[in-house]
């Protein structure tokens, strides 16, 4: 990039209390780019963005806006220079309307000094429309979902005419569908020329949208480079020195003895005839969208909501908890979603936070022994490798990961036999997540059963033994976690598919999986399985199996892509009736993504007939520059093409002549083997 960066940070240094948080960090942020800032908690990310946002002033170093040095003494300075920040904790006022929030602190007024409600509303509508956010500007923010509140926050930032948008963990509180919507919005903003500084713990997200990545560790810049050159493994290694393969160190300790048996449970809060069993030492995952009823199931089990029907049996005995006190008495623990507002006592240091659920254990005669309490505290701080500072500092000052471990310690101490974990790794860094996973393993090894609620689907699938998919308060599907894909989970949870079609897709996915895995292991490249969405005329990725050497690409399980520029899409199109395809081509302009994209319908029709002849299709960097792929059709029982598989990789590693390569043979053969598994009987050619 030869043009001038929007912002250039040079050797920024900043220290607090004699501790150097930033030890000379430099990076450049360009217009129209999504610049990801990565690093563990405490690596200096927050300090850096706060310098750019005018909250902190660097001790030394320069900040240049379009080549001109500026000093930001105050957040308002930063705002005046076009910097808008969306912090982790929302700054929307719940009791005001959307429009009032968007114009908070800078209400428009008429020449008479009276607030101009109409103008504010108009401007808000305009901003929302521009962002394609569908929220009523007159709605009171309190009534909106967390995701919508986040969008309001963004609308507010955008309406400030900002050129740089800083987003700190914007998806931490969002479910998958909401996340997708947000990411799409971020992409649109970048396309409109805004620079976006994006901070997230979710690497998959970063890999999906970022074009440039800066990694910080201990206040140093480890790397700052275009994403295209990076693999996820590398980034994780840079951040923590942990290999991504160790990301989910799942150890299963399920015993064949039920711990919790729930039958036909319903509550007034919308749990609808739910039945499931959790065995001793099992991690039972609840998947579903935010608001699907997962938390409500947990509330009922913990005695917070009264069941209106059904029964709960704990270790073979019927229980009717009327309050958490009773649930805790019987060995049930709950770690709430929002540990700050619902889990921790900021007026205590760690030991009282740990002992609070079982103070009786500290009694010596009629009095609690504070010395015993300290000992207990020290013991758990050691055991869970919580920072020793927790012994004397309020838990307010601990990192998110340490805070979470303090809450887990509470339930270890209270000897819970069944632990409900609601979003236990939300907003904590990779290292601390790993710690939480290890704790989960240790808990189950000790025969504790876990009900795990997580919107991080890869985590949910990797750490659970079985997963139930929840929608509208009902459990729609229970499966072994390793037999469920992220896509299936998403599809069931979102209700995107009709039941019948869902069954079909599930069957396809289940049967194809072993063979697709095999192919991935042979080729070490990313393998996709996709179907055609006829209604929308696009392709839908059923699964994406990343290879060891897989590189960043736009595809995503459950995501969609255009048909005309992808190997998969063209293969799927090739077996649709020609007349329909041609008519469809005529209706619209075929979008161009790279200079090799075929945009002319005659050429495309020729290509499709070639695919039918050869039995495979190619993508010659037609969708993304530097990425090539080869795809082959999968036939169903009736001989129709129902899906396609592809192998995708960077142009450098893919064979020069894909059409003649051994890889082609392997792909076509695997597709055929999948077809046979599905009941395809036709003789080969």
């Amino acid at each position: 990039m030869e043009h001038m960066p929007l912002w250039e940070l040079r050797e920024i240094k900043k220290s607090f209390f004699g501790v150097q948080a930033l030890k000379g960090v430099s990076c450049s942020i360009y217009e129209g780019e999504v610049h990801a800032l990565l690093g563990e908690n405490g690596s200096g990310k927050s300090t850096l963005i706060k310098c750019v946002a005018g909250v902190h002033q660097p001790d030394s170093g320069e900040m240049l806006l379009r080549g001109r040095a500026v000093s930001l003494r105050h957040p308002l300075d930063a705002r005046a220079h076009g910097v808008a920040t969306i912090f982790q904790e929302f700054s929307v006022v719940p009791s005001l309307t959307v429009a009032e929030n968007v114009f908070l602190g800078r209400q428009l007024h008429t020449p008479l000094g009276v607030i101009d409600w109409d103008a504010m509303r108009r401007e808000t509508v305009k901003t929302l429309e521009q962002l394609e956010i569908h929220i009523n500007p007159d709605a009171v923010v309190r009534t909106l979902s967390v995701a919508e509140q986040q969008l309001v926050e963004i609308a507010k930032a955008i309406s400030l005419e900002s050129t740089l948008l800083i987003m700190d963990e914007p998806t931490a509180a969002l479910g998958l569908a909401e996340t997708d919507r947000l990411l799409a919005l971020v992409r649109r903003l970048a396309a409109q020329g805004k620079a976006i500084l994006y901070i997230s713990h979710r690497l998959d997200e970063v890999f999906e949208i970022a074009s440039h990545v800066t990694v910080l560790k201990d206040g140093h810049r480890v790397s700052s480079q275009p994403l295209g050159e990076l693999k996820m493994n590398d980034v994780v290694r840079m951040m923590v020195g942990v290999d991504i393969e160790q990301h989910y160190p799942k150890v299963s300790s399920v015993k064949d003895v039920p711990c919790l048996e729930v039958e036909n449970l319903s509550t007034e809060r919308g749990v609808d005839h739910v039945s499931f069993t959790i065995n001793i030492g099992e991690v039972f995952g609840l998947g579903g969208m935010v608001g699907s009823g997962r938390t409500e199931i947990a509330r009922a089990l913990f005695g917070l909501d009264k069941p209106t029907s059904g029964s709960i049996r704990l270790h073979g005995q019927n229980v009717h908890f009327r309050s958490p006190v009773e649930a805790i008495g019987r060995g049930v623990g709950l770690i709430p979603e929002n540990r700050k507002s619902d889990g921790l006592f900021f007026n205590f240091d760690a030991p009282p936070n740990i002992t609070i659920s079982r103070l009786g254990q500290l009694l010596r005669g009629p009095f609690m022994s504070l010395r015993t309490e300290r000992q207990v505290g020290r013991e758990y701080i050691d055991k869970l490798s919580i920072t020793p500072a927790a012994l004397e500092k309020s838990v307010k000052f601990l990192s998110g990961g340490n805070q979470q471990k303090v809450v887990i310690a509470r339930w270890l101490f209270s000897q819970a036999r069944l632990l409900i974990l609601d979003e236990p790794t939300q907003g904590i860094d990779v290292g601390a997540k790993l710690d939480v996973y290890k704790v989960i393993n240790e808990l189950t090894a000790h025969g504790i059963s876990i009900l795990l609620i997580s919107s991080d689907y890869p985590e949910l699938l990797a750490m659970s033994d079985r997963v139930a998919v929840v929608r509208d308060g009902r459990i729609l599907h229970i499966a072994e976690a390793n037999r469920l894909s992220e896509y299936q989970l998403l599809a069931i949870a979102s209700g995107a598919e009709s039941d019948e079609k869902m069954q079909e897709v599930l069957r396809l996915r289940t049967l194809a999986m072993p063979l697709v895995h095999q192919l991935r292991d042979q080729l070490h490249e990313t393998v996709h399985l996709a179907v055609l969405e006829r209604e929308a005329m696009r392709l839908l990725y059923l699964d994406k199996f990343g290879g060891e050497q897989s590189i960043a690409m736009m595809s995503r399980t459950g995501g969609t892509a255009p048909l005309t520029c992808t190997g998969l899409g063209k293969v799927l199109l090739a077996y649709e009736p020609s007349a329909q395809v041609e008519a469809w081509f005529k209706q619209q302009t075929i979008p161009a993504f790279t200079e090799t994209t075929i945009t002319d319908s005659a050429t495309l029709m020729r290509e499709l007939s070639a695919i039918r002849e050869n039995g495979f299709g190619l993508d010659r960097e037609e969708h993304e520059r530097g990425i090539r792929c080869i795809a082959a059709p999968v036939y169903g029982e009736t001989g129709e093409v129902i899906a396609a598989i592809s192998v995708t990789g960077s142009s450098e590693r893919m064979p020069a002549d894909l059409a003649q390569s051994a890889m082609r043979q392997q792909v076509v053969e695997t597709a055929l083997r999948i077809s046979r598994t599905l009941g395809y009987r036709a003789e080969k050619q």
Binding site: F346, P352, I356, M368
Partner: protein
């Protein structure tokens, strides 16, 4: 942490400094302050408020507020007078009865503000009016004098050279100190004030805890009522006016946070003494009552302000101190996953 910051951060330091400051200023302003007669007077005067301040502190620790102590003092005082004088009930029975009444009045406050879900400010604002109204009702508005000769020794009597109220105050504060520091219910009170939602999810009976603080507040106000009656040998619906403000002032000057969850009972005692010393000083200097009220209000604001200022000073000192620490100790806490 250095010695300086540790001392500065100790919760009892501020209130103690405030008390000493008040003593110094008052004794400079008049030579009648530091006399044995006056000091024992102050000690006697302060006892009802100091005891009512215990209950006020407990309620404040859970994040609530109780505006009814003054009215409970009046109602229990009148009831005690009526029971003892008009119904000839000996004080060994009538005193426990009014203590029970006080607890009951506190229970009503607690019930409406927890199970009734009305903010405690509103509930006790209303009960403040209702309880005092009841006191007027049962006495037809006129004080009852010469209640019983048995009452006087309770207040003016002494034991081993020290006045009786001294023992009540010390005993009740000691009891409360142990209750809060070593009792499960005491811990629950701090937990509820610190984070109600977390307390509920941790198996604390939040409503029950709140109820208990209100009942204890009613009880301590009733004890204050009995002492007031004994001191003046009379019951009057006009007793206890302003007790709630002085009790809350004692807690706040003692550093209790009105948001709940932080504060300690020994500091409340220092707070109560500070209020008493200032009032005594104003009396000795013949300052009109109106100015006394204004002074008390100003002190409350000052106390909260100083508390804020102290926190920021100790933070700053800590920052400076950190510069002189060996580098190894400087690192803040950091979570490290050991791969």
């Amino acid at each position: 942490m250095t010695v300086i910051t540790r001392i500065l951060r100790s919760p009892a330091v501020g209130p103690l400094v405030a008390l000493l400051l008040a003593v110094v200023i008052v004794s400079l302003s008049t030579n009648r302050f530091l006399t044995q007669q006056n000091l024992s007077n102050v000690a006697l005067q302060v006892s009802p408020v100091a005891i009512a301040a215990i209950g006020a502190t407990l309620v404040i620790l859970t994040g609530g507020i109780d505006l009814s102590p003054g009215a409970i003092v009046a109602l229990t005082s009148c009831t005690l007078a009526i029971l003892t004088k008009n119904n000839d009930i000996p004080i060994v029975f009538s005193i426990p009865m009014v203590l029970l009444l006080g607890a009951g009045l506190g229970f009503v406050n607690g019930f409406f503000s927890t199970y009734g879900r009305i903010p405690s400010f509103i509930v006790t604002l209303a009960s403040m009016s209702i309880y005092r109204g009841l006191a007027f009702l049962i006495t037809s508005g006129s004080p009852i004098f010469s209640v019983s000769p048995d009452l006087e020794p309770l207040f003016y009597g002494d034991f081993v050279g020290l006045p009786m109220p001294f023992y009540y105050v010390v005993a009740l504060y000691a009891l409360t100190f142990v209750f809060l520091r070593y009792g499960i219910m005491g811990r629950a009170i701090y937990a509820v004030g610190g984070n109600e939602a977390a307390a509920r999810l941790s198996g604390i009976r939040v409503n029950q805890t709140r109820m208990i603080t209100f009942v204890l507040a009613g009880l301590t106000s009733a004890i204050a009522g009995v002492l007031t009656t004994a001191r003046l040998d009379s019951g009057s619906p006009n007793y206890g006016v302003g007790t709630e403000l002085q009790a809350i002032a004692a807690a706040v000057i003692g550093g209790a946070s009105l948001a709940g969850g932080s504060g300690n009972i020994i500091s409340t005692l220092f707070g109560a003494l500070t209020v008493a010393v200032v009032q005594n000083g104003l009396n000795l200097n013949i300052v009109p009552a109106s100015w006394q009220e204004i002074t008390l209000g100003s002190i409350i604001v000052l106390a909260v302000g100083v508390d804020m200022w102290r926190a920021s000073v100790s933070r700053r000192l800590g920052r400076i101190a950190a510069l002189f620490m060996p580098a190894g100790n400087r690192q803040p806490e950091k979570a490290k996953g050991s791969p």
